[in-house]
């Protein structure tokens, strides 16, 4: 089972500030996904990223959001100007090797609190 490490585990920021959340899979992956879970609510798809390009994004993933693979191993989710409603747990996820079954392995999440 592949492992995914997410940093930071918790970040508190002021409204309007930029936030970068990071995801590091233990092995090299071409696919990764970001999901969001507002406290007490469902887990929502944000974006999928394949081979350095966005392959699909939800309507939540507006111009405030961006994803990158800055150094070939880390994946980042950037929120340019945070809003109160961005407060949530953000999960990075990767498929198993040879995947394509929809199964995903999730990191422990990064909790973002916007004040």
């Amino acid at each position: 089972e592949p492992e995914v490490t997410q940093t930071p585990s918790h970040q508190v920021t002021q409204m309007g500030q930029e936030v970068i959340l990071r995801c590091v899979p233990i092995s090299n992956h071409l696919y990764f996904y970001w999901y969001r879970q507002i406290l007490g609510q469902k887990v929502e798809f944000l974006v999928s990223f394949y081979n350095n390009e966005i392959s699909e994004k939800s309507e939540i993933f507006d111009d405030q959001f961006s994803v990158e693979r800055p150094d070939g191993s880390n994946f980042t989710l950037k929120i340019r100007s945070t809003k109160l409603e961005d407060s949530a747990m953000y999960f990075c996820a990767i498929p198993p090797s040879g995947g394509g079954t929809g199964e995903l392995f999730f990191g422990e999440g990064s909790r973002l609190t916007v004040l």
Binding site: Y31, Y35, S48, S55, A93, T101, G102, E103, L104, G107
Partner: protein, 114 residues
Amino acid sequence: AQSVTQLDSQVPVFEEAPVELRCNYSSSVSVYLFWYVQYPNQGLQLLLKYLSGSTLVESINGFEAEFNKSQTSFHLRKPSVHISDTAEYFCAVSEDTGFQKLVFGTGTRLLVSP
């Protein structure tokens, strides 16, 4: 597009009692089905999955789920729950077409009391 419905937001049950968490899905194509569990302040862990073959799938900790295509359901069951099963349970579906995203239900909180 696919969707998932979990009608029960919370299911309270006594320890050693049986439990069923309901999940119904909607999709115009073949799907893969999953149950994920989220313990307090933790991430999402895969509990069990249906990809193909036998419609009854089991987890290592006693949970099972049955894929029912005619009823578009994938209910999760356990004959005897433990206190440690207290968690949030999410049903999820992905379309049977490559690296498709997972779509989650709203979750069911299982509360096991002594």
